[in-house]
Each structure stands twice: as C-alpha cells, then as structure tokens.
Subunit: 203 residues, 2 copies
DNA sequence: GAGCTTTCGCTACGACCCGTAGCGTAACTG
DNA sequence: CAGTTACGCTACGGGTCGTAGCGAAAGCTC
C-alpha cells in the first residue's frame, strides 16, 4: 500500500507506524482545509508532527500520498443484504455517495484521477488500491440476485465492468460534477433506471 | 466565456483576438505535453508568443484558463438523427468518448473538476460553459424518441438530469478511471443496458 | 551490555514558479 | 492631435520543491 522498500529489513530502527497514520490523517485534514492544489507536503509534515524528510522517505510525491490517504476512505464499503436486488443496489450506492460527500474524498479523488491520465504507475496504484477492490460489491450483488432468481445465471465478465462503470460513474458525476446530492430520492430513481431501463421508467 | 470586463470599452487599444486563440491553443498543447500539475502560466505564455502579464490580464489563474481551453473541445458535440433512440444514443456517446480520448481533455477536465469542489465560482463556470450546454443533447434525443413513440410523452425535468449523469458519468468513468476505450462494442452494450435495464440485458 | 543498521528531526540549499509592479511602446478613438 | 487602453519586457519578494548533510534515537544481533 505504501512505497517502502519491498522486503522490510529485519535490522535497524523500524519505521514508525504511528507516523504513517498521522501523515495520512494530516493529508486528509489538509485536503479538507486547502484542497488539492494548495496542499503542500511541508504543511502536511507539520500537521502530522514529523519532519518533511520523513515524508519523502515514504512517498514519492503528492500524488502517491493522496492516493493512500483517500483509499482508506473506501475500505468501509459493504453491500448490504436487504432481500432484493433493488434494495441492495440502493444501499451500496447510498454508502458510496456518503463517502463522496466528504470533502477530503471529493477533491482528493478527482485530482489524483486527473494526474493518473499522464502517469501509468499512478493509475495502476489507484486501480489496485481503490477501484478494483470495490468491484467485489458488484460481483457479490449479482451472485445474490442470481440466487434469488432476479437475474439470469449468465456470467459475462465484461458485464460486471460495465455495471461498475455505470454505477460509479453516475454517482460521481451526480455528486462531483452536477454538484447535487445523491439522496434517497435520486438513488431510487437511478436504481429503477438501472433495473428496467428507459423504456420502463417514466420518460 | 473569458474574464474580461463585462462591457468592452469603446476607447483604447482593443484586445487581440489572435492572442486569445493562441493562448487557448497553447494551453491545450501544454496540457498534452505536461499535464495539469506541471503546466505553468509562464510556459503557456511563451508557447503562445505573448507576455506573461498579458495572460494574467485576461484570466484570473490556471483554473479559469484551462476551463476555457477545454470547453472549446466540447462545442462540436451534436446528436445525430439515425432513426431510432438506440442509434442516436450510440452516436452521441461515441462522439463524447472521442473527445475524452484526447489527452488535453482528459487531464484538463478532471483537474478543473477537482478544483471546482473547493471553488464555487469555478464550478459555476464549468457548469455553464461545459456541462449545462450538453444537456440539450439529452433533451433533443428525448423529443425525437417521443415523436417516434419510443418513449412516453411524459416530461419529468429531473429525469433529464438523471440520464445526463448516467450517460456522462459512465463514459467518463470508463475512459478516465477504468482507462479502457469506450469503443463501439462497449457503447452498444451500454446503450442496451440504458434502454432495457439489468433485467432485459444479459446478466 | 557493545556494535551495527536504519530511521528520525533538523537545517540549509539552489531551483523553480508565482503573481505583481513599473516602464516605454503600440493600437485605436474622437 | 490628445486620450485611453493593451502590449512586451524586466525585475522583484515570497513561497514551494526535493535533496543533502548532520547528530541523535531506536531497534536488532551477538
């Protein structure tokens, strides 16, 4: 998850785990107060109570640091078992929306995504530490729905990717671009659209 | 569209329209070569062949400049009339994906969106100059589909916003986060999902 | 404990970019 | 012509970057 040397040496003074947590927390705090562009590593170091050099020993730069700081926010996501596919979708989308409503997630996530368009290593870091880990939610929801008979037992792997892009993309666009809350009403309408399509929904 | 004084004065030396175009083109060029974070206004000025002070007289900062530079890319969007709602959607989504495939759109758009989470004026600038102008495509497509009898003649205004978030969000997430091309195959699958929903599509 | 290794906090540094001020010149109006 | 505004250029203080060097601290092995 971090950029330390692959095999941790058995000898010498070990790195402080407390410092790691303090730095990541300070990064999120700075994201809230300053946003991405005005966030400086020197400021983060001061907030965390560590030296600037300590920070540079662990992370290559601002991008990598913010990815790790933001990734922790998404670890709490779980898909609830509410008895129906529609209810399960609504539940997980609301959780996702709640995370994106937090300012440290908003500015941090979009900024590192922007940087990742020009940095393949960074994009891979984002994919493995944030994006790909949440696809399990789609897989789990589909498995449950198939067991209930709500979805055909087919299993095209590209369909999972499509659904993930649609769900995550819609929520992100709603909250970060349109800047409107993804509240219960919106989530219900979105879930209905996702399940029955434009033809079945109110046009 | 730019940050000049509201009423252009009748007296004095007029601002060079050539310089405007050169600066915006230079900004896109710099976005391609350097990306957002390494783009400097001094460099843009040099590329455009103007003085740095000239640039600061017209734009308040990097954010506003990039918004204008990127906004021009989206003006070419049109929804084609292909005879069916599905074909119309596929056509406009492919156009949208083609724009997002360009590096100057990728890094520029995401970066200003990230900044807009902490700057209300910037978000409003993005909404009026980029986002809101493309909602006409959804409205136009729906009107056509209703005339063809493909959609009920209802007209819930929030549905348009929902569809826009779903379409734009999915394409953006596919191209910028998943980093996979929104090619014809993907667009066809997405359109089918949008029209008939999860129940009708292959699960 | 002694000795080794690595991390830590601290200071200092050159390099770069920021955003603005000041100046003389260019372009356009009445 | 005078008046007004934009332009190119130079220069500046202020801030951040990322790194180097130092002595001290914190572990591990013997």
């Amino acid at each position: 998850m971090q950029s330390r040397t692959p095999a941790s040496r058995a000898t010498g003074r070990p790195r402080s785990a407390t410092a790691d947590a303090a730095i990541l927390a300070a990064t999120r705090e700075a994201l809230v107060e300053l946003g991405w562009s005005k966030l400086t590593l020197g400021d983060v170091a001061t907030r965390a109570g560590v030296a600037k050099t300590t920070l540079y020993r662990r992370w290559a730069g601002k991008n990598e640091l913010v990815v790790d700081a933001v990734a922790e926010l998404f670890d709490e996501l779980e898909i609830p078992n509410r008895g129906s596919l529609a209810a399960d979708i609504e539940g997980v989308v609301l959780q996702f929306a709640a995370i994106l409503a937090r300012p440290e997630a908003r500015s941090g996530l979009m900024a590192v995504l922007a940087e990742s368009t020009r940095d393949d290593a960074l994009r891979e870091r984002i994919r493995t530490s944030i994006v790909e880990r949440q696809k399990r939610l789609v897989l789990e929801g589909r498995t449950r729905a198939q067991a209930r008979g709500e979805l055909p037992p087919e299993s095209d792997p590209t369909t999972v990717d499509l659904i993930f892009d649609v769900v995550a993309g819609a929520v992100i666009h709603r909250t970060l671009v349109s800047a409107e809350p993804a509240d219960e009403q919106w989530v219900r309408a979105f879930t209905r659209l996702l399940l029955v399509g434009l033809g079945g929904a109110a046009g």
